[in-house]
Symmetry: C2
Subunit: 347 residues, 2 copies
């Protein structure tokens, strides 16, 4: 059995720096993708047009056959003038990280009102605002990793109300509340969903740091809501893998002193993984909408860069195990579901 999808796009991916970037950038195509929406949370973060263009050139030097859609990191140095410059240079979006909630978010924002002039310029220039939708934990307010996303949703509604024409993407939604919030918004608000959040629940990362990511996978009922909106084929919900490579020693918890890095790495297996997971809950017929059509429509990414990608179902009795590790020099990264079988491969 074969299955083809036209020009899939990963609308949320981390390609990092240094040797790790050399290792993971070619995995975009390996995973079946020719267009990648690239996150700006480097050290230091990508906060202006020149940095973004330089980063894009570095990625193109590694693999010129991928189209890199670039983003800026929302920070106080971002101005309406810089937004206009970014737009003219082809930069697509601006990513907002609340302070301290995930990898390299120490410079994240604390209040949105400060950025209203920037958002106004983005709305006028038709750029996309990408939201990491979590508030920081605060024990005194009973805010923790499991309700950090629902607690963020009033910010989403406030931004949408203030800037109804601004295209906003709530990134990597994990809760029923987030799905309902995005549905309740107008056509300018969309949502990415990762494949790992379609697979995992809290029980999978309890005591297993390799399944730990931010936002954390939530309860079974939340996973059901994510699956349902994919199954429904809702055009404002589409793939952003949030594929986030981390060196293995930062993912394991060999001593009590080291908390592990948040992130799950899916790039090199992405399209087969998505097919495997969608098939597991009866949504294989929504594959093309989820990985290509819906996201491209929302982003107005109509260039048809890339090509049709064909997946083949692994015949009964044969196996297609996910690699245990990918290496380059002294750098390595362990993919999600390492060593487990997938039912699909790229033909």
């Amino acid at each position: 059995m074969e299955l083809s999808v036209a020009c899939p796009v990963d609308f949320h991916v981390h390609l990092r720096q240094g040797t790790l970037r050399e290792l993971v950038t070619p995995h975009v195509r390996k995973g079946g993708f020719f267009t990648a929406y690239v996150m700006p949370n480097l050290k230091p973060p990508i906060t202006n047009t020149d940095q973004a263009l330089a980063y894009k050139a570095q990625l193109e030097a590694i693999d010129p056959n991928v189209k890199y859609l670039m983003t800026l990191y929302l920070s106080p140095e971002l101005t309406p003038e810089e937004i206009r410059k970014a737009k003219a240079a082809g930069i697509v979006g601006v990513k907002s990280y609340p302070r301290g909630v995930t990898t390299n978010s120490d410079g994240g924002i604390e209040s949105y009102e400060l950025y209203y002039p920037v958002f106004r310029a983005m709305e006028e220039n038709d750029m996309v605002l990408n939201l990491h939708g979590e508030v920081p934990s605060d024990a005194t307010k009973n805010i923790h990793v499991l309700n950090a996303e629902p607690q963020f949703l009033p910010h989403l509604h406030a931004l949408h109300k203030a800037f109804p024409k601004l295209r906003i993407v709530l990134e990597h939604a994990t809760t029923r509340a987030a799905v309902e919030a995005v549905k309740a918004c107008g056509s300018t608000v969309a949502c990415t969903i990762t494949p790992h959040h379609l697979a995992l629940t809290v029980d999978d990362w309890a005591g297993q740091s390799w399944n730990y990511c931010k936002p954390v996978a939530k309860y079974p009922d939340d996973r059901e809501a994510l699956r349902a909106v994919i199954k429904e084929g809702h055009p404002r919900f589409f793939l952003g893998s949030d594929s986030a490579p981390h060196p293995p020693h930062t993912k394991s918890t060999s001593t009590p002193a080291c908390g592990c890095a948040a992130g799950i790495y899916t790039s090199p297996i992405l399209l087969p993984l998505v097919a495997h997971i969608l098939e597991s809950f009866g949504a294989l017929d929504k594959l093309e909408g989820y990985v290509s059509t819906f996201g491209r429509q929302f982003y107005k990414e109509e260039s048809n860069f890339g090509t049709k990608v064909t997946l083949k179902r692994i015949p009964e009795g044969q196996s297609n195990m996910i690699e245990e590790k990918f290496m380059l020099g002294e750098e390595s990264v362990v993919p999600f579901w390492a060593g487990k079988p997938l039912n699909w491969c790229i033909a």
Copy 2:
């Protein structure tokens, strides 16, 4: 500053088998305790009187200066006759593990009605029923590690209603719902609370397997409810450490294939740790009730075995770091808060 408590008792401790038992049993006294209520979840579990007495003799051979209060593992082989024999032999309680929820619980129970004849015999013979109060996760019913305890509480109420004179201890409560449920019961129902559940929340074990235990630490509001009931000095809430040693390689998550063992080890630092934590939320005046008086009253453990234990506050500027590791031969175990400072030590 010094602080003395009379005859503290740890009403929930795991002393294991083999070399690990040799290593951890002396830690009961090292942690300031002379009486220990010993869990029966060995491999194979302690399911009858003869096994329990043999295990007790093994523990006494390691440290004869501790009084070991013994328990049986609730299983189909337990009969009313065996309950009477156990009572006559000085065995204090029976521990119930729902199937599959924690370490060595594969033989745990699935339905309580089967055991009503045993509970009737326990009630008649004034033995204590110790409940691991969680139901197994079930994604189809939205049951997961964070609501497994609230979902168990109807079982507690049903047992208390069916056997109002049976003394029942809900072990290691972690939620506001559990605290309220136990309060709502009559005087025959009590509750142990661990020191680590007075310290941790879900954010502490997210991505940090060394803080992973079952039941998992819950939300800040739940921790607040546990602290409040200790601060209140409620006589049916007292210490059971659930100190659970595991070899370090089973606590770390060095690869995605290995989930980590559930358990936190506090025995060798127990009394100073409890003082440190109670002081942190203004409950130091409740120390003796929590670690001695309340549990002894409920268990009718009036023998005054042991002695007064005196704690000394570490003077400002001095430090009292928790050991990184305890070793015996090739066996080792890492304590909770390894390498962190405690404000108290045993005088």
